[in-house]
C-alpha cells in the first residue's frame, strides 16, 4: 500500500491552515551564513538561502487561507475528506526515502555544505521538531531558482554548481515528490491533531473517564478519588476528568510528586538523600557565612534537624520549580526567574534577606535573592531560575578546561531536548585534533559541536571554574573559544556579567523548550521516553515505528503548542497527556496485526510503578503505608535501588523492566503489609474499614456467608486493583477459591496441630496503626480460631502483588 494513503487513514486528520508553529523553530541557527543575493538567487557558493535564524514564516496560518477538515486537500493524496499535511507528505515522500539518507550526509549542520555556508540545511532527528524545521527551511528557499528551475532541484540535478554532484534525475520519484512539495508550499496544508487519539487509536480500548480519574489521582496525588469526584466524572465524562485533575494539582501531595518528577531530570537530590551536610558543605565559606556554623559545629544540632536543614538547602531548585507551578507562573520561569525561593531553614544558610509570615512553618516559601560579599558590598546573584541555583551548578560542575561546556550540554539536554553528544555521529580521528591549533574552533571535526556548545557555555562565565557556585567579578571568558551567544546571536559584552539571564530568555522562547517540557511530563506520566525517529529502514517494522513516531510527535507537538498558548502553563501539559491514549490505553478492541502491535508498543497501561509511586499507592488503597519503624516508607529507603529507583548520584536512571529482584520486593511487600493490616482492619467498625467493610470474622462459606465474602472480594478487586467486575466474573471466582482453599487447609492444619490458632505476633492487631496506641484488650485480635484472618491475609497478599497493582 502506498505509505501516504495508509498514513492518511491511520491518522485520520483533517486539513487546516499551514504550519504556523514551524516558522518559529530555528534550524540550528548557530550556522551563520551568507551567500544569498538580494534578488533571491543563489550566490556563487553552494548557498541555498535562508533567513537569519533558520526558518521564516510561511504562508497559511499567517494569511488565513487554509481550509477546514471537510474541504478537499488540493494537491495531496488520500481519500476525500482525509487530511494529509504538507509536513506529512514531506516526511513520507521526501525525508524518509531520500533526504534522510543522501542529502543529510553533507547538508546536516555539521556537514560539508554547512561549512560552506549553504542555506539548505537539514537537521537530523536528534533535534526535536527536526521535521518541521527542515520543511520550514525548504519553504524559506523555495522561491530561489537557477535558470527557472527551482534551486532545490537544480542543485541535485547538477544544472548548477553542486559539490555533491548529480544526485537524481528528472525521472526519479524523488524529483516528482520535490516538485509536488514545492506546489504544496504555495499553500501548505496542516491538519488538526486529535490529541485524544480517537482516530489514530480507534482500535485501542481506553480507560473510562472514571478509570482515568482513578489512575490520574493515584499517580498525581497518591490517593483514591473521592465519591464526589467520581460522581462528577460519571456525569461529566472526560471534561470532568480534566477539571478534577486541575483540582488535584492544587494539593500538597501533587507537589511531592513533582519533586520526584523534576529530580529525575535534575538529580539535585544527590545532595539531600538523608545527608547531614552534603548540600550545605558545597557552599563556600566566604560567600555563605551562614553555612559555617552548621558545617563546622556538627554537634550543634541533632541529626534529624541537620538532615532537614541540609535537605532544604539541597531542594532549593526543586522547590523553586514547585513554587512556580503552584503559583501558576509561566513554566519558563524555571530558567528565567530573577529570584529563587527559601524556606526558614534554607534562608539562614543562603543568607537570604527574606522574612516569613511564620518562621516556624517550614513549608512556607518566600522569594528572595542570593547575595554574596564582593568589594565591601553585597553582590546579587544574576538569578536565572535553576540555572543559577548553587545546587544545579554543583550537580553539573565544570573545570578550568571544561569551561562550562558540561553545563552548556545540560542546557541543551534538559531544557531543549537536544542531545548534543548525538550530533557527533561521525568518528573522530585521533590525529586530526593535534594537527590544528585550537582545534575546538579551527578543526571542523571539533568545531561542528563546539560551535553550538561553546557560546552557551560562555553564558556561564560569571561563575568560577573551580568553585562551582562562586560568582566572579568581573566575569571571565576566553578569546580562543567561540564567543558567548545563542545559536547565531552574539551576546553583547555588556551582558556578560548577567549573561546567564540573557541566555535563559532565549532558551525559554526556543520552541524546543516547550517540547522539552512536554517530553518531561510525558515521561513522568507514562514511564516512557518519547519515541526516537526510527533510523533503521531495514528494521522489520520500520513503517510501524515510523507511524508510531509520527503519531506521537504530532500529539506531543500539539500539546506543546497548547502549553505555549496557555502562558507556558505546565499543568496544561499534565492534563492533556492524561487524556491521551498513551496514558489511557487499557486493551485492544480487536487483535492487532504484528505491524499494528509494533505501532502501539508504547501505548497505554504497562508502566511499572516507581518505588515512590508504589509507596503512595499502597497507602492510598489499603489506608496504611508500608513503613519502617521510623515511619519512612520501605520502598523509598530499604528497597529503593532494588526496586529500580535511583539515588541521583551513582545511579541516575530508573529501571523500567521488572526483574526477579523487583518481583520479590513486591512479594515481600504484599506479605508484610497484608500481615500488618488484615487483622487490624477487622478491629474497626465496618463502615470505617478500608479492606473488609462487607464481612465479619464470623463470615465463612460454611455458615452461609459466601455471598458476603464474594461481595467483599468484589470490593477488594475494585479498591486495590481498580477492577469493576461483575459478581460472577471468573476472576472473583479465582480469588474466592483462594480464600476458600486457604481457609479449609488452615482449619485442617489447626485440627491436625500443624498450625496453631494464634496469629503470628507481627500480624496481630494490638495497636492503632495510625496513632501507635495500644488497642483496648477487647478490641485486639491475636488469635484466629476460624482461620478467617489468615484466609483474608492470603487474599490481600494475592491482590497487593498483582500485576494491576504493581503496574499502572
Amino acid at each position: 500500500m502506498n505509505r501516504s494513503l495508509r498514513l492518511v487513514r491511520k491518522l485520520g486528520l483533517a486539513r487546516i491552515p499551514a504550519f504556523a508553529s514551524v516558522a518559529t523553530l530555528t534550524l540550528a541557527g548557530c550556522y551563520s551564513g551568507g551567500g544569498m543575493n538580494d534578488d533571491g538567487t543563489a550566490s556563487d557558493t553552494d548557498a541555498m538561502a535562508t533567513t537569519s535564524g533558520g526558518s521564516s514564516a510561511t504562508t497559511g496560518a499567517d494569511t488565513g487561507t487554509g481550509s477546514t477538515g471537510d474541504e478537499t486537500t488540493g494537491g495531496t493524496t488520500g481519500d476525500p475528506g482525509d487530511c494529509y499535511s504538507t509536513l506529512q507528505f514531506f516526511a513520507d515522500e521526501i525525508w524518509a526515502p531520500s533526504f534522510s539518507k543522501s542529502c543529510i550526509q553533507c547538508h546536516d549542520p555539521t556537514g560539508i555544505a554547512a561549512e560552506k555556508n549553504a542555506k539548505f540545511l537539514l537537521l537530523p532527528p536528534v533535534y526535536p521538531g527536526f521535521m518541521e524545521a527542515n520543511l520550514a527551511n525548504i519553504a524559506s528557499i523555495a522561491g530561489y531558482s537557477y535558470d527557472d528551475v527551482p534551486l532545490i532541484l537544480a542543485k541535485p540535478l547538477f544544472l548548477t554548481e553542486h559539490e555533491g554532484g548529480k544526485v537524481f534525475t528528472e525521472s526519479d520519484e524523488i524529483y516528482a515528490a520535490i516538485e509536488e512539495l514545492l506546489v504544496q508550499l504555495d499553500d501548505p496544508i496542516e491538519c488538526p491533531v486529535d490529541t485524544s487519539g480517537a482516530k489514530s487509536f480507534d482500535d485501542v480500548d481506553l480507560l473510562t473517564p472514571v478509570e482515568t480519574l482513578r489512575k490520574a489521582t493515584l499517580h498525581l496525588s497518591g490517593r483514591l478519588p473521592t465519591d464526589e469526584e467520581i460522581k462528577a466524572v460519571e456525569e461529566g465524562g472526560l471534561d470532568a476528568v480534566a477539571l478534577a485533575v486541575e483540582e488535584i494539582m492544587t494539593e500538597d501531595a501533587f507537589y511531592s510528586r513533582l519533586l520526584d518528577v523534576f529530580n529525575d531530570k535534575f538529580l539535585t537530590d544527590k545532595f539531600a538523600n538523608g545527608s547531614t551536610n552534603n548540600a550545605v558543605a558545597l557552599l563556600s565559606e566566604a560567600d555563605f557565612p551562614g553555612r559555617n556554623d552548621f558545617v563546622n559545629n556538627v554537634a550543634m544540632l541533632p541529626t534529624p534537624e541537620r538532615v532537614r536543614i541540609n535537605q532544604a538547602v539541597a531542594r532549593e531548585p526543586l522547590e523553586l520549580i514547585n513554587y512556580i507551578i503552584r503559583n501558576d507562573r509561566p513554566f519558563t520561569e524555571i530558567i528565567t526567574a530573577n529570584y529563587t525561593v527559601f524556606n526558614p531553614d534554607s534562608a539562614d544558610i543562603y543568607n537570604a534577606d527574606v522574612s516569613f509570615n511564620d518562621p516556624n512553618d517550614l513549608g512556607e516559601l518566600q522569594e528572595g535573592v542570593i547575595t554574596v560579599p564582593r568589594g565591601g558590598a553585597q553582590m546579587p546573584f544574576p538569578h536565572a531560575g535553576i540555572l543559577t541555583s548553587p545546587m544545579w551548578l554543583n550537580r553539573f560542575p565544570t573545570t578550568p578546561t571544561n569551561i562550562m561546556r558540561h553545563r552548556a550540554r545540560m542546557v541543551l539536554f534538559q531544557f531543549l531536548a537536544t542531545d548534543v553528544l548525538a550530533l557527533a555521529s561521525q568518528a573522530i580521528s585521533p590525529d586530526a585534533g593535534s594537527a590544528v591549533f585550537n582545534p575546538t574552533r579551527n578543526n571542523p571535526d571539533c568545531a561542528k559541536c563546539h560551535k553550538l556548545i561553546d557560546p552557551i557555555a560562555g553564558a556561564f562565565q560569571m561563575f568560577d571554574k573551580n568553585d562551582q557556585e562562586k560568582l566572579l567579578d568581573p566575569p571571565q571568558w576566553y578569546p580562543e573559544v567561540f564567543s558567548p551567544g545563542y545559536l547565531n546571536e552574539l551576546m553583547p559584552p555588556d551582558q556578560f556579567s548577567t549573561g546567564i539571564q540573557w541566555l535563559a530568555e532565549r532558551v525559554a522562547t526556543d520552541p524546543r523548550f516547550a517540547l522539552s517540557s512536554t517530553y518531561t511530563i510525558f515521561e513522568a506520566l507514562t514511564g516512557m521516553k518519547p519515541l526516537h525517529y526510527p533510523t533503521n529502514p531495514d528494521s522489520e517494522f520500520y513503517d510501524s515505528e515510523l507511524t508510531a513516531w509520527e503519531t506521537q510527535d504530532l500529539i506531543l507537538r500539539s500539546i506543546a503548542d497548547k502549553f505555549v498558548a496557555d502562558n507556558h502553563n505546565i499543568k496544561t501539559v499534565i492534563r492533556e497527556i492524561i487524556l491521551t491514549p498513551y496514558f489511557r490505553g487499557k486493551g485492544m478492541l480487536k487483535a492487532p496485526t504484528p505491524a499494528r502491535a509494533a505501532e502501539l508498543a508504547a501505548v497505554g497501561i504497562g508502566r511499572l510503578s516507581t518505588p515512590e509511586l508504589l509507596a503512595n499507592k499502597i497507602g492510598a488503597v489499603t489506608g496504611y503505608p508500608w513503613v519502617r519503624s521510623d515511619k519512612q516508607p520501605y520502598l523509598t529507603v530499604d528497597y529503593k535501588i532494588l526496586y529500580g529507583g535511583h539515588d541521583s548520584n551513582e545511579i541516575t536512571e530508573r529501571l523500567t523492566t521488572v526483574n526477579a529482584v523487583m518481583a520479590s520486593v513486591g512479594a515481600r511487600m504484599a506479605n508484610e503489609h497484608a500481615c500488618t493490616i488484615s487483622a487490624y482492619d477487622f478491629t474497626l467498625p465496618a463502615d470505617q474499614r478500608t479492606l473488609f467493610p462487607l464481612v465479619e470474622l464470623t463470615d465463612t462459606p460454611d455458615n452461609g456467608s459466601s455471598a458476603e465474602i464474594k461481595a467483599n472480594i468484589q470490593y477488594l478487586h475494585k479498591r486495590i486493583l481498580g477492577e469493576d467486575l461483575a459478581i460472577d466474573d471468573p476472576e472473583l471466582a479465582r480469588t474466592f477459591q483462594l480464600f476458600y482453599d486457604t481457609l479449609q487447609a488452615g482449619l485442617d492444619n489447626i485440627a491436625n496441630d500443624v498450625e496453631t490458632t494464634s496469629l503470628l505476633s507481627n500480624c496481630r492487631a494490638t495497636k492503632n496503626l495510625k496513632t501507635g496506641e495500644a488497642l483496648p484488650m477487647e478490641q485486639q485480635i491475636t488469635s484466629d480460631e476460624t482461620y478467617v484472618v489468615r484466609a483474608w491475609m492470603a487474599v490481600v497478599t494475592y491482590l497487593l502483588a498483582d500485576y494491576r497493582f504493581l503496574f499502572e
Binding site: L600, L642, T797
Partner: protein, 447 residues
C-alpha cells in the same frame, strides 16, 4: 491467545520474551564462565599505567621515569608510579587498599591480556562508554554483558547485574541492581518473617503461600494472553518471567556484611561491595554477567594525584575481585574485561602541578581470566606511538605491531568487540551478530 501464539506474536514484535520455568521444574544453576565488565568511568590514562611513555614534561609524562627494558612485568609494560595514601590525598589508613600498576601486573600479569593503542574514535563520555562496552557508538546496541547473559541464561533471575557502566540491555533481558545485603536477604525469602531465623515463622503457611503464587501466576498469564494491548502483554509477560525463578534468590549466600573501608574510599568500597554481591550471585548459579564501575577518572585537573589515586583503587578493586573469586572457587570460570570511556592526553592541559589531561581517543583495555590459559595472559597487543600517542597498526594475522601506519589494521572497539563476542560464544553466525552487526576487521585478539 495461546501461549505458543503469544510467543510467536512477541517474537515478531520484538517483545522481550524468555520462557519461564514451569511451576516446579528443576532449576539448572548457571555454572560459568562468569563475565565481569569493569568500567573506569571518566576516561583513564593508559600512559599512567600500561602504555608508559618516556618522561618529558612537555609531552605525556611528567611524573615518572620510564625505561622500557626495565619497567615491565613479563611482557606487560607499566608506569612506575609508587602509590601511597599520603601522597594521593588520602592517609596511611588507605594504603592497604591502593595498588600500583607494577604490583598489579606482578600479581596478575599472567592472567592479563593487554591491548594498547585502541582508537576509540571519540572524545565524548557517553559515546565512549557506549562504544567501549557495546562495540558501536553510533547505535544503541546492548552491552556485551547483556548479550552474553541473554545468550546463556536469559531467564536466570540475576542473569545481568549492572551496578554502573553501560547497562543497555537491548530489551534482551531485564537488568538487575543489587546494593544491600539485609534488604536482599529479606526479599530473597519474602515469606520469612525474620531472615536471621531461616527456620522461623512465615507470614503464610508454606502451602498457602504456594497457593497464592500459583494463583498469581495463572492470573498474570491469563492477563497476558487475554489482553492484546502490546504494552500490557509485554509487561505482564515480563512479570510472569521474573517470578518464574524468584524462589531461587534464597540460594544466594551473601556475606555477613559488605566491605567497609576507612577514610575517603567510598567509591572503592562501593566497587568492592558490588563485587561481593556479583560473586554471590555467580556462586548461586543465578548470574552470568555483571557490570562494575569505579568513577573519578575524568581528571581535567590534578591529574598526577587524582588519576594515580583512582588507578590505584581500580587495581586494588580488581585484585579483590580475583581474590574473592578464588576464595569462592570461582576463579577458573571468571573472565574480566576492563575499559574506560577513552584515554587522556595527549599532553597536559597546563604546566602547573594542579593541571590535568583532557580527553584523548586512544586508550587501552585489559582482558583478565582467572585461569591464565583461558585468555592467554602475559600478552601485550598493540601500541601507541611514543611521540604522538597515536594508535599503531597491527598485522591482522600475527598481531605484531607495525611501524608503517599504512599497513595492517588499526585496532578500534569494533575489532575488539568482534573478537570479544567470538570469545564469548557470539560468533558471526549467532543471531545477535545479525541483529547487532559490527563492521570491523577480524583480528585474533583473544586467540
Amino acid at each position: 491467545m495461546l501461549r505458543r501464539d503469544f510467543l510467536n506474536f512477541a517474537a515478531m514484535t520484538g517483545l522481550a520474551v524468555a520462557a519461564p520455568r514451569t511451576a516446579r521444574a528443576a532449576f539448572q544453576p548457571y555454572a560459568g564462565p562468569f563475565f565481569v565488565f569493569v568500567s573506569a568511568r571518566g576516561g583513564w590514562d593508559p600512559t599512567y599505567f600500561c602504555d608508559p611513555k618516556p618522561k618529558d614534561p612537555s609531552k605525556f609524562n611528567r611524573l615518572y621515569d620510564y625505561d622500557a627494558a626495565t619497567h615491565k612485568v613479563g611482557n606487560l609494560p607499566y608506569a612506575n608510579i609508587p602509590v601511597s595514601g599520603a601522597a594521593l590525598g588520602l592517609d596511611a589508613m588507605a594504603d592497604p587498599y591502593l595498588m600500583s600498576a607494577k604490583d598489579f601486573f606482578t600479581a596478575h600479569g599472567d592472567q592479563i591480556r593487554l591491548i594498547n593503542g585502541i582508537n576509540t574514535e571519540t572524545n565524548n563520555h557517553d559515546r565512549g562508554v557506549k562504544t567501549t562496552f557495546s562495540g558501536r557508538g553510533d547505535r544503541d546496541y546492548p552491552a556485551l554483558a547483556a548479550m552474553i547473559a541473554a545468550d546463556r541464561a536469559p531467564a536466570h533471575p540475576l542473569a545481568f547485574i549492572s551496578s554502573g557502566g553501560y547497562a543497555n540491555s537491548g530489551n534482551l533481558l531485564p537488568v538487575t541492581r543489587l546494593n544491600s545485603v539485609s534488604s536482599f536477604q529479606k526479599i530473597a525469602s519474602p515469606n520469612l518473617v525474620n531472615v536471621a531465623d531461616p527456620m522461623g515463622p512465615t507470614y503464610h503457611n508454606p502451602d498457602t503461600y504456594q497457593r497464592i503464587l500459583d494463583a498469581q501466576a495463572a492470573r498474570t498469564m491469563d492477563l497476558s494472553n487475554g489482553n492484546d494491548l502490546p504494552r500490557i502483554k509485554t509487561s505482564a509477560n515480563e512479570l510472569y518471567v521474573a517470578r518464574g525463578n524468584m524462589d531461587t534468590l534464597a540460594s544466594v549466600e551473601l556475606p555477613g556484611a559488605l566491605v567497609d573501608l576507612p577514610g575517603n574510599l567510598g567509591d572503592l568500597e562501593r566497587m568492592m561491595q558490588q563485587t561481593q554481591l556479583a560473586l554471590a550471585a555467580f556462586k548461586a548459579g543465578l548470574a552470568v554477567s555483571a557490570n562494575i564501575e569505579l568513577g573519578g577518572f575524568d581528571t581535567h585537573a590534578n591529574h598526577d594525584i587524582n588519576q594515580v589515586r583512582q588507578l590505584a583503587k581500580l587495581f586494588h578493586g580488581i585484585h579483590f575481585l580475583l581474590q574473592e573469586a578464588e576464595a569462592q572457587g570461582l576463579l577458573g570460570e571468571l573472565i574480566i574485561f576492563v575499559g574506560s570511556d577513552f584515554g587522556r592526553g595527549k599532553g597536559y592541559n597546563g604546566p602547573g602541578a594542579a593541571d590535568g589531561k583532557d580527553h584523548w581517543p586512544v586508550t587501552s583495555m585489559m582482558a583478565i581470566s582467572g585461569d591464565p590459559g583461558v585468555i592467554g595472559g602475559n600478552t601485550l597487543i598493540g601500541a601507541s606511538t611514543v611521540d604522538d600517542q597515536l594508535p599503531m597498526t597491527v598485522d591482522p594475522v600475527t598481531l605484531e605491531t607495525l611501524d608503517d601506519p599504512m599497513m595492517g589494521v588499526q585496532i578500534k572497539w569494533g575489532e575488539v568487540h568482534k573478537a570479544m563476542r567470538a570469545f564469548a560464544g557470539i560468533g558471526p553466525d549467532h543471531p545477535y551478530s545479525s541483529k547487532f552487526p559490527i563492521i570491523a576487521e577480524d583480528l585474533p585478539l583473544f586467540g
